[in-house]
């Protein structure tokens, strides 16, 4: 007889049903019925005779936490409540709090549904410590039904109580289970049920080793306050109330409010903007002033209401940073210089472009993270007389407001960079409240500053773990395996060479060109085959996916994959056999038309690894006639033709601060900048660039043709006309007309905007144009509608584009390699890449990391400029050009240092600003300064230690030509 397995008897009480009502999008009400099963085979985490044996990795011990706390001297286990987990995660994370915690699954589910980033942090903590996850949501013994009128919070609490009661019964009297809650009313409720319960504050205060923890504890707002906080509370509410979520959602549906991400203006922290879609158009709404910002912090998701048209303001012409805040005598209130509050006088408002303005009515989601910065200095004598624990924390990120924290460690922390997290921002407090997390290192120390840079930009920079390194082969013993040799095409005899910047160790592309006769050339682009080493679902792959890109700082490079691969086994070094993924074209020699394209995996042996200069020399020298040089000459000629074709289609050539040379938008060869010196543009740069672009386009077309749902592509949306307002106005004031209708007309207008007297004018106009652009983004073709318009790469003027040519430093390229490999029939597709949803998620991560890496690079350049100026030890005199004219400052470009300096007007009454012509007039000397004018400035370091930053130097800018006197004394060192 055939006998099957019976249903396991551990499932008791089957057929339970939970039903609830939901409202669908259309407004219909549906009854949802779900069944659930309760089990009795859930382990308790201790060495227990009654529970079934599981392969549970965390085991609690019966002796845990003995003798560490005055309140509970004997051994006990802690169960943190949902509110504790939500608010006090820093305390739990710290090592002195101890291991041996029990986490309830119901609490974890609650956190997961409300705050995903917190959930991830919690899972990280769980991985590092000995925390046991008790699955109480399906446990027969601890399950309770939700009562009809019960709120979600009450229900979660009741589940926790039921779980703890059973747990205590289960393990006996010797080991006590302690519930930790956040406030005293919950504590009373729990104690009434017979549980041992303390508030986290009480528990931490009674730990023997609690110095570090006390600072990290978040005190609920109704607990005891410091003196100055009491005075603040007595003041009336400074901000309007936030609307409750239900009203906001209703308003959004009706079209009264809009949901968007709040972005604080980098130059003016009292102003922010959001991007919304109004009537189908993308509109940027300005939110200016403290009250209108209503406690929104950069990156929060907020709900805004648009003000009536009469109240619309123009984009702020001020440059405002927290540095300018001064303290009044009583050290209680902080005031901004009143002139700087956005007072507008009618004269300067006329003719200036008005923007839609709005105000924040409610916060939908806070996206607070941990911020790096320093504690604001207090007057030393006051510190001696009284013990003040309430301090202000000044974040490095200029967009974040100052944060009020409590700490007893002022003396040791005042010279350190510290990490702080925001807890809340009550209505009656001008600034948000937060708590100290940890110290990072001394201020000004190069390593600390670098660390902060990486932390602020969320860049994974820790060393590669052992499990990652284990995935790598031994470089000394490695050679191409014979089965790979037999599968791949053999190009080892072709005249292949690579052309890269000097000092480049990660060579990921090589080229060759052969004359096939009858007017056709064979051109091959060979890209390092990283996918042969980085296999899907290995620790190496996961780490690379997390990093998504190699980050280039001035003195440091954070690699995406370990050096063994990036600089050795994958890099197409000279005279080494390497595995590659090749694109071979047949091109018409005269017109550079593509006749045929094919893709194949191959093996090459590069004849030469040249620099741009070397390659140029070989092309120009009349003696060299070897096949590599001849190939280079052909490539050069073809590249010129290809480039002309692209320019005719409207490809843009723009400029950016980092390189001070002409670059393409989304340049293939300009990512790895390591020096401040400006680069000379040679033919060879452009040559490699053109073929990389052609390769990317060919791969994009092939992928979209074969796997239209799964292709990972890159697009650059055309910026709306409004984005270009600043550019158009700037050029108009100099008599140039910029046509922003499409790429071609824009490129043409940019080419025409030249001033024979000012050689940098065109460069600056291009720099401004770059700032008007939208970001190029990766996306999955299956998730993007309207391919005709949405796949466009505006900057390169191509209808479809992807990244294929740099898998060593970009994860997107690696995915494209895997997809293409599947398309040509070489390998099976990894399950992750069969879903367009998953590919889109990967794209979002890559986009985020890429953006952060760019920001980090720029910040690193700024940091090193500062260090350079410091190292020179005397004030520098530099040539500069006015990039932007503002109401209270001039933003000056210093080409030699690739630096943007800000010159603040010392006294506003001496200057007259005209928004229409973008000029300021210095009244004392009757000098008029226009945008794009050349100036000479003096850069020096001044010590602002008298104000609030001790030992931190700030770059001071003085105008030498035209000469404007100043009262600020520079320091000599």
């Amino acid at each position: 007889m055939f006998s099957g397995e019976p249903l396991t008897s551990s499932m008791t009480k089957a057929g339970n049903v939970r039903s609830f009502y939901l409202k669908t999008k259309r407004g219909a009400i549906v009854k949802i019925v779900r069944e659930y099963y309760l089990r009795n085979d859930i382990p308790c985490g201790l060495e227990c005779s009654t529970c079934p044996i599981t392969d549970c990795s965390t085991k609690l011990s019966r002796k845990s936490r003995a003798q560490i706390n005055k309140l509970i001297p004997k051994a006990h286990l802690i169960v943190p409540d949902v509110n504790v987990l939500n608010n006090q995660l820093d305390v739990i994370e710290s090592s002195t709090f101890g291991d041996e915690l029990i986490l309830l699954k119901t609490d974890l589910n609650e956190i997961r549904s409300t705050n995903l980033s917190l959930f991830k942090r919690l899972m990280d903590v769980k991985g590092k410590k000995n925390i046991f996850l008790f699955e109480n949501q399906f446990n027969e013994h601890t399950y309770v039904e939700r009562l009809p009128k019960e709120t979600r919070e009450q229900y979660i609490f009741r589940l926790a109580i039921s779980a703890i009661k059973w747990y205590q019964n289960h393990i006996g009297k010797k080991l006590q289970i302690v519930l930790l809650v956040n406030d005293s009313s919950t504590k009373a409720k729990a104690t009434a049920e017979g549980l041992t319960c303390f508030t986290l504050v009480e528990y931490v205060e009674n730990l023997h080793d609690n110095v570090e923890l006390l600072d990290k504890v978040v005190r609920p707002p109704d607990e005891k306050m410091e003196v100055d906080q009491a005075i603040e509370k007595a003041a009336k509410f400074l901000y309007p109330e936030h609307l409750p979520l239900a009203i906001i959602q209703k308003g959004i549906k009706e079209g009264k409010y809009y949901q968007a991400k709040f972005a604080t203006n980098r130059d003016n922290y009292l102003e922010g903007s959001v991007h919304i879609t109004m009537n189908g158009e993308a509109v940027r709404v300005l939110i200016s002033g403290r009250e209108n910002m209503n406690r929104a912090v950069n990156d929060d998701i907020v709900a805004i209401e648009i003000a009536p048209k009469e109240e619309w303001k123009s984009k702020s012409d001020f440059v405002l940073t927290a540095d300018l805040i001064t303290e009044d005598k009583d050290e209680k209130e902080l005031e901004e210089p009143s002139e700087l509050e956005n007072k507008k006088d009618k004269k300067s408002e006329e003719g200036v472009i008005k923007r839609p303005t709005g105000k924040v009515v409610g916060i939908i989601k806070r996206n607070w993270r941990q911020y790096c910065g320093i504690i604001r200095e207090r007057d030393a004598c006051i510190m001696k007389n009284t013990i003040i624990t309430s301090h202000f924390f000044v974040p490095i990120d200029k967009r974040i407001p100052m944060i009020r924290i409590e700490t007893r460690q002022y003396d040791s922390l005042k010279s350190q960079r510290i990490l702080v997290a925001i807890d809340n921002w009550p209505r009656d407090s001008k600034f948000p409240r937060g708590h100290y997390v940890r110290a990072l290192g001394p201020i000004g120390d190069k390593a600390t500053e670098n660390e902060i840079l990486l932390l602020e930009h969320d860049i994974p920079h820790l060393q590669f773990t052992k499990s990652v390194m284990n995935c790598l082969p031994d470089p000394d013993k490695w050679s191409i395996p014979p089965e790979e040799l037999s599968k791949r095409l053999d190009f080892r005899d072709k005249p292949i060479c690579s052309v890269d910047p000097p000092g480049c160790t990660d060579i990921d592309d090589a080229l060759h060109c052969i004359d096939l006769g009858n007017g056709t050339y064979e051109v091959g682009v060979h890209i390092a085959d990283v996918s042969a080493f980085v296999k899907p679902n290995t620790p190496l792959d996961q780490e690379a996916a997390n990093r998504s890109t190699t980050v280039y700082l001035v003195d440091n490079r954070i690699d995406m994959i370990p050096t063994v691969l990036s600089s050795n086994l994958c890099s197409l070094m000279e005279n080494r056999e390497r595995q590659t993924f090749s694109v071979i074209w047949k091109l018409n020699a005269k017109t550079a038309e593509v006749i045929d394209t094919r893709f194949a995996k191959s093996v090459i042996k590069s004849r030469a690894a040249l620099t741009y200069a070397e390659a140029q020399l070989r092309i120009d020298s009349k003696d060299s006639k070897d096949d590599v040089t001849q190939g280079l000459r052909r490539l050069n000629a073809l590249a010129k033709k290809l480039k002309k074709k692209r320019i005719d289609k409207g490809a843009l050539v723009l400029a950016s601060l980092g390189e001070i040379k002409f670059i393409e938008v989304d340049s293939e060869t300009a990512d790895n900048v390591t020096k401040i010196e400006s680069k000379q543009l040679q033919d060879t740069n452009s040559m490699v660039e053109e073929f990389m672009l052609l390769a990317n386009i060919s791969v994009a077309e092939k992928l979209y043709q074969e796997v239209p749902q799964l292709a990972l592509l890159r697009h650059h949306p055309k910026p709306s006309a409004a984005n270009f307002d600043e550019l158009v106005q700037a050029c108009k004031s100099h008599g140039f007309d910029i046509d922003v209708q499409d790429g071609k007309s824009l490129a043409k207008s940019l080419d025409g905007a030249k001033d024979p007297k000012n050689s940098y004018l065109n460069l600056m106009i291009r720099m401004i144009t770059t700032r008007c652009m939208t970001q190029a983004q990766y996306f999955c073709s299956g998730k993007m509608a309207d391919p005709e318009n949405n796949f466009l790469h505006f900057g390169l003027a191509t209808p479809i584009y992807t990244h294929f040519t740099s898998p060593i430093r970009r994860y997107a390229d690696l995915i494209v390699h895997r997809l293409l490999s599947h398309v040509i029939g070489d390998t099976n597709l990894d399950p992750v890449l069969t879903s367009s949803e998953k590919i889109q998620t990967l794209c979002e991560n890559i986009n985020y990391r890429h953006h952060q890496a760019q920001l980090a690079s720029r910040a690193s350049i700024k940091l090193h400029t500062l260090i350079y100026i410091k190292s020179v030890k005397k004030p520098l005199t530099e040539e500069g050009y006015i990039l932007f004219v503002r109401k209270n400052a001039l933003q000056i470009l210093v080409p030699r240092l690739a630096f943007e300096a800000t010159y603040f007007f010392e006294s506003l009454t001496d200057w007259e600003y005209d928004g229409l012509t973008c000029t300021v007039k210095y009244l004392k000397k009757d000098i008029t300064l226009r945008q794009f004018d050349p100036v000479k400035i003096k850069l020096s370091l001044i010590d602002k230690s008298t104000e609030f930053r001790k030992g931190v130097e700030v770059i001071d800018v003085q105008l030498i030509k035209p000469l404007i006197e100043s009262n600020v004394k520079a320091i000599s060192t």
Binding site: F2, Y36, Y37, K120
Partner: protein, 242 residues
């Protein structure tokens, strides 16, 4: 920011599914035979919250053409308008027709049709409540109804569904798992004795590497289902004898 979090770390590696079952546990299955007196054979199957009624009429005279060698099997599948949480009006939609055809083929192979030439056997299936794995429940119900009708059949045809979520093969998919994004589902109907698969139907894409695991999960599920069905049949016969 959700976009920062990678796929792997959002799923907590929990051993329990959304309704508390472990990955290889089938939902609670109840069957009854002989629920209608007027039909030749009938059955009622309740798999979790999915409830299916099956009735069999035959063998009887054909209405049109008849097959001189064997009996014609005619199978009609119907999803009641009230079976899901929103009322649906389609009766003759593509999915119902597809399932009807599949069921016809399944039972065509399983029933000993050579014994009844020039006749027709009708099988009617009605899904009274749908909560995932409708097709599998239908095969089970039809199988029981045929046995109740006393029509000779090679074996007790049993069926079970399986899927693949979070890199894990899962047996017996319920409606929530079915509707969650991108879950591939495989339903296998088989003759358990010979381990012959009569019907394998899948929706969504299953990667070749995972196919074996998912099939194994479905076949394991069939074993559990078969056990219950056999018990039900034997109980029913014994009751009648008494």
């Amino acid at each position: 920011m959700e976009s920062r979090i990678l796929l792997e770390s959002t799923s907590v590696k929990t051993p329990f599914r959304i309704d508390g079952r472990k990955p290889h546990e089938v939902r609670s299955l109840t069957c009854r035979l002989g629920v209608f007196q007027q039909a030749d054979g009938s059955s009622y199957v309740k798999l979790g919250n999915t409830q299916v009624l099956a009735t069999v009429y035959g063998p009887h005279d054909t209405r049109g053409k008849s097959n001189p060698e064997k009996s014609i099997i005619n199978c009609k599948f119907r999803l009641s308008t009230f079976s899901k949480s929103t009322r649906r009006n389609l009766h003759r939609d593509i999915r119902s027709i597809e399932i009807s055809n599949n069921l016809t083929q399944v039972f065509d192979s399983a029933i000993l049709t050579e014994l009844y030439p020039h006749s027709q056997i009708d099988i009617y299936l009605e899904v009274v409540q749908s909560d995932g794995s409708d097709y599998a429940a239908c095969i089970n119900a039809a199988s029981l109804a045929i046995i109740d009708a006393g029509i000779p059949i090679k074996d007790v045809v049993c069926a079970c569904s399986a899927g693949f979520i979070d890199n894990q093969p899962i047996t017996d998919i319920n409606a929530v798992e079915e509707s969650s994004n991108g879950t591939p589902i495989l339903t296998i109907g088989m003759l358990p004795k010979d381990k012959q698969i009569l019907s394998m139907e899948s929706s969504g894409g299953i990667h070749l590497d995972n196919l074996n695991d998912v099939m194994d999960a479905a076949i394991e599920g069939c074993k559990s289902v078969l056990f219950i069905m056999k018990q039900t049949i034997l109980n029913h016969i014994q009751e009648l004898k008494d």
